[in-house]
């Protein structure tokens, strides 16, 4: 337990210095930083309504993209390596402000991403989601899945102002607790507020073959390379969107504690693993990636070993 506290505090301080360099990092689209309160203005872009999807070939592609987005495992199985759907982290079918809505994303690409050190097209952004968040493999740029997801995003963004970051993009950053995060507190919050749906051990719950409540860690969850593995990103998502239907009810501190608890568990390996070495992979990809526990020792175990 002592060891874990040290690791935890270190990373919390790490965040402070990371935040201080915000100006440099803002260029980096791997991590989209949005202000915590600016979107509260309520001036969000309103995407078109589903019933306005045109009754033609384009409309069919849009509807197909929507269905893939909310039911990814069944509708794009060859590219999905876990139990998740895109819509599990982009609520209301990718429409909800502050839940990384597709309408706010679409117009921002191409963009530079430090994650792979190049300017990424929207297609490449989507492919990244499959490799990391979905722990699967990237659909080919020419595939039907990419065509449908792109059409859906494009349709949602129709009428949105271009060339500017829209309010409601990504997940609004939540300030970290002054004394660093606390895994024991996170565990208690998890038991009180999350386990009823996501299971006592983060394993999620199924109805039949499919998850209704997605797994938060373990073999069927997102991998160590996904944006959600960062505690700061997870805290932002959780604060805004969880418990389901009651977003905004957790305090900033509690969102951090529970996010840290969630991300202090094993999950599938980062597919960018270098020479089978967690340390090398940490140095290259995780050391400057927000606040995360990849390669850190928690409760006497080094995280980042991965699970199959």
């Amino acid at each position: 337990m002592k060891i874990s506290c040290t690791a935890v505090l270190l990373s919390a301080f790490g965040f402070a210095s990371f935040a201080a360099q915000g100006a440099e990092i803002a260029e980096d689209q791997s991590q989209i930083l949005t202000r915590p309160d600016s979107p509260a203005s309520g001036r969000y872009f309103r995407p078109p309504l589903e019933r306005e999807i045109p009754d033609n070939a384009f409309g069919k592609l849009v509807q197909e993209g929507r269905a893939i987005f909310v039911d990814t495992k069944n509708r794009a199985p060859e590219y999905v390596g876990n139990g998740l759907s895109c819509g599990n982290c982009h609520l209301e079918q990718g429409r909800r402000a502050n839940s990384a809505p597709l309408w706010a994303a679409y117009t921002m690409y191409p963009a530079y991403r430090k994650k792979n050190d190049r300017v990424n097209s929207y297609t490449e952004r989507l492919q990244g989601c499959f490799q990391f968040s979905m722990n699967g493999k990237a659909p080919e740029a020419e595939s039907r899945v990419i065509a449908a997801l792109t059409a859906y995003s494009y349709w949602l963004a129709m009428g949105a102002p271009t060339g500017q970051e829209l309010p409601g993009r990504a997940y609004p950053e939540v300030p970290p607790p002054a004394g660093g995060f606390d895994l024991a507190k996170g565990e208690r919050i998890y038991a009180d507020q999350c386990a009823i749906c996501h299971g006592a051990d983060g394993e999620g719950q199924k109805a039949g073959e499919n998850y209704v409540f997605p797994p938060l860690w373990g073999a069927d969850s997102f991998n160590w390379g996904a944006g959600m593995h960062r505690i700061n990103t997870a805290a932002a998502f959780i604060k805004e969107n969880m418990p389901l239907g009651k977003g905004g009810t957790l305090s900033d501190e509690d969102a951090w504690h529970v996010a840290a608890f969630m991300n202090s568990h094993e999950r599938p390996q980062d597919p960018r693993l270098i020479d089978g070495s967690v340390e090398k992979t940490r140095d290259k990809y995780h050391a400057n990636d927000g606040v995360n526990l990849y390669g850190m020792v928690v409760n006497g175990r080094m995280l980042g070993q991965g699970v199959e």
Partner: protein, 208 residues
């Protein structure tokens, strides 16, 4: 048990008989005469009774059944019919009833989820929610096809529309406050009368 009913020999005897054949509580009532036979309202096989708006019990999760009976007794779920019945059941009777009811099959329902297209109001609430009021898709918690998830999230499919609507109204009126962490309560309170009618009809119609 003995302390309470011991002095009245007749009742004590009845109690003993029932203890031997516990499945009978469902069709004949419990040891305490206030624990009226469930079958008279919930149907011979626990299939519910559409005309009276009595819910189906067969195939509900065991923990859910036990929790509801405890909540009726405590008043967290206030209901003048079920309150005296639930209060009169013994712990053993509740355990056997729950085990017997949950062992029965719940009718098969097509697992319609968020991927499906929507037209009417009820279907739209069920599969899209009303997120501008923080109402998630009903299937996000009650599962595709409203078939229920685990021990906490009950099935809605095939329950009488009148019953489903009564529950949503009970949350609005504050007579049902037994849901964990107000997960369901805030949803019930945010629905309009038209929405309650439409979504109740939608789930009631999902049988067979």
């Amino acid at each position: 048990m003995i302390l309470r009913y011991g002095p009245i020999a007749g009742i004590f005897l009845v109690c003993a008989v029932h203890a031997q054949a516990p499945a009978d509580v469902y069709s004949r009532g419990g040891a305490n005469p206030a624990a009226v036979a469930c079958a008279s309202c919930h149907g011979a096989q626990g299939e519910g009774m559409e005309a009276g708006g009595f819910p189906r019990l067969a195939g509900l999760p065991a923990d859910y059944i036990k929790k509801q009976l405890a909540d009726f007794a405590s008043g967290a779920r206030a209901n003048p019919i079920m309150q005296p019945i639930a209060s009169a059941l013994t712990r053993e009777e509740i355990d056997t009833l729950a085990a017997m009811l949950t062992a029965q099959a719940y009718p098969e329902v097509a697992p319609v989820g968020k991927g499906a297209e929507v037209q009417e109001l009820g279907e739209t609430l069920a599969l899209r929610g009303a997120w501008d009021r923080n109402i998630p898709e009903c299937v996000a918690c009650h599962g595709p096809g409203g078939r229920g998830v685990g021990e906490v999230f009950p099935p809605l499919a095939g329950q009488p529309a009148q019953y489903l609507a009564a529950q949503l109204i009970a949350w609005q009126q504050g007579t049902r406050t037994n849901d964990p962490n107000d997960l369901m309560g805030h949803i019930g309170r945010s629905l309009t009368a038209d929405e309650i009618e439409a979504v109740s009809k939608y789930f009631a119609g999902l049988k067979k």
